[in-house]
Amino acid sequence: MLEVLQVAKRYGEVWAVREITVRVAAATCLVLLGQNGAGKTTALRCMAGLLEPTSGRVRVGGVDSREDPDAVRAQVGLVPEVPGLYERMSARSYLDYFGRVYGLDRPTRDRRIGELLDLFGLSAAADRWLGTYSKGMRQKVALIRATMHRPRLVLADEPTSALDPDSARVAWSYLEGLRREGSALVVCTHDMEEADALAGEIGIMAGGLLLAAGDRERLIRAAGLKKHRQVIERPTLEEVYLAIIGKRTESEARPA
């Protein structure tokens, strides 16, 4: 579904992403972990057809983002870190607007909007202006907006960072449902527990580089934890993450 081949992105003199390669099949999920400024958001924007890579290629559903970025964006649902809602619109009219932008017909729009507002517990507030919504409610609306057209690829940047545990559980369960229905997911998060539960594959980014990517076992090997520790229990994802990031920090600190 998603192929990111040797993608690099430079802003002026700063390389935000350096030659990353990942593949995400339909009905699978890749979780990207990394510190702030690791290049996750830029990588997502390149995958979403929002930014053209400085080098390398992005293909979504076989469509090259350089050749037909509009077709790529039509297949993608992007949940940015900041919900970015129009404050003087009600949730219903906001979602209806984006439903029209994505070319959904009226009955489909009405049905999907009703279903999703119910699912996220927003039906009672559906006709209130978005400016009056709490941070968590906004994040839910952003998630609905990005996925109401059933995109083949969902790109989510910290989709549950403002949600309470109960709402976060609903959101993760909804994303998991989308994955089961066939959507490919790429999620950036700092929530290791959820990442562990959701991810088929995990990518760890730092300084624009994809330091390691793969399933949990592969990451454990990449972190070198099996060599150094004789542990009976599996290391947690957080330990794996810290080990991989730590290795990079050590190599950067080492004098040439």
């Binding site: 802003y11 002026g12 003199e13 700063v14 935000a16 830029t42 924007r45 979403a48 929002l50 930014l51 053209e52 509009d70 077709a71 964006r73 039509a74 993608v76 992007l78 940015p80 900041v82 919900p83 970015g84 809602l85 129009y86 404050e87 003087r88 619109m89 607007y97 984006f98 029209r100 932008v101 994505y102 070319g103 952003a142 907006r145």
Partner: protein, 439 residues
Amino acid sequence: MKLDRRKVLLVAERDFRDAAGDFRLALAMAGLAAVVPVGVGFAIRALVVFGGGLTDLVQRVSIVGAFFVVFLPASYSLVLALESFVGERERATLEVLLSTPLREAEIYAGKVASVLGIALVLCFGALFVYCAVTFPGLGYFPLGILVSLGVSTICQVAAMVAGAVIVSANARTMRAANVMASFIILPMSVVLQVEAGLILVGRGELLWGFAAAMAVGAFILLRMGLRGFSREALLSRETGGRDRLRGALRAVAAAFRNAPSGPALLRARAGPILSALAAFPLGAVLGYLAAGLLPAGIARPLVAGVRSAGAPSDPASAALGIFGHDLFAVILAGALAAVTVGLTGYLLTAVPGAVLGYLAAASSWGLALTGILPAALVEIPIAAIAGGLAIHIGATVIHMEREGGWTRRLLAAEAELAKALLWLAPLILLGAILKAYLG
């Protein structure tokens, strides 16, 4: 350029509803668009009643009043247009809009259409209210001028909106957009004052000329916006641009280093140089024709000035003076080319041509040509080359590409002229010496 009209209208409708949804803003705009025309209309009627009837002056003032009430709502369009992209960027809604399958042209056209729609509804609403209050019962209704005012308003608002949307798409903050809006407000205020002056002196028919000029300006700006609008550039700027001063200085140095010179430059800029050269005979014809139209009070001092400049007492100091003047003219033309869209490049050759034509009309072509030879053989090609490079600068200003690089291209164009001055300056000096000693 593919453009789905339904999607353009979708974007326009949302923006329109967003502006109208802010009741304080909507009330202020609608209120001023209604109250001001009523006030001005009653003032005109009071002038008729207490100022000695419907005199010629009152008639002209009534048209200036129409002009005023139409322009006031047009100025709101500037605020709305400036807010169109930079406002969305500040509210973090831009990324969401750009992540949709909407094409760049659809987003841009939708935003322009929304602001244009609001502005024109307010402008023509205000004009309607003004006419309804002012003219009934007066036995006077300047339909022709009001139509020309209406058309020129459409063109002016379109030019302002298109320009402001470009500013909005290129600014990072609303504050920066407001500052950059001066580039629209200042020329527009000059245009408005000239138009008001023309109405007051009874030459309202010339508004059609302004309408045509504004239509051309609006077309150029809309084209620039459509060609230059890029979601890539909008999002890249949010994280790009470290150490801008050093980057800019490096870009200037690189542009100067890489600029073509000599024959390569003449080949590369043959088009603009030839068009600058063509402005010389055109200027001569216009100067010749103008000789019959200019009042003698203006013409005599002009001719005397030109003759005295061409007959100095000390050739060495005269050569130095001519050299300084010509060099300054070339530098000024290059510096102003960016803000005059290359017009100064044409003036470099057209103005000497016009003076020659004028002198020819005052005496004869033979005498006029003899007067400028042989220095003109050097000066006119120099003016054409410098003018061509200034025209190229102007063309760079109004050319935008999706990939960006507008500043880099402008710097490169300015660098071409700067580098050319290294060999043009000695030629200017040669022309000045020829003029001082042989002219």
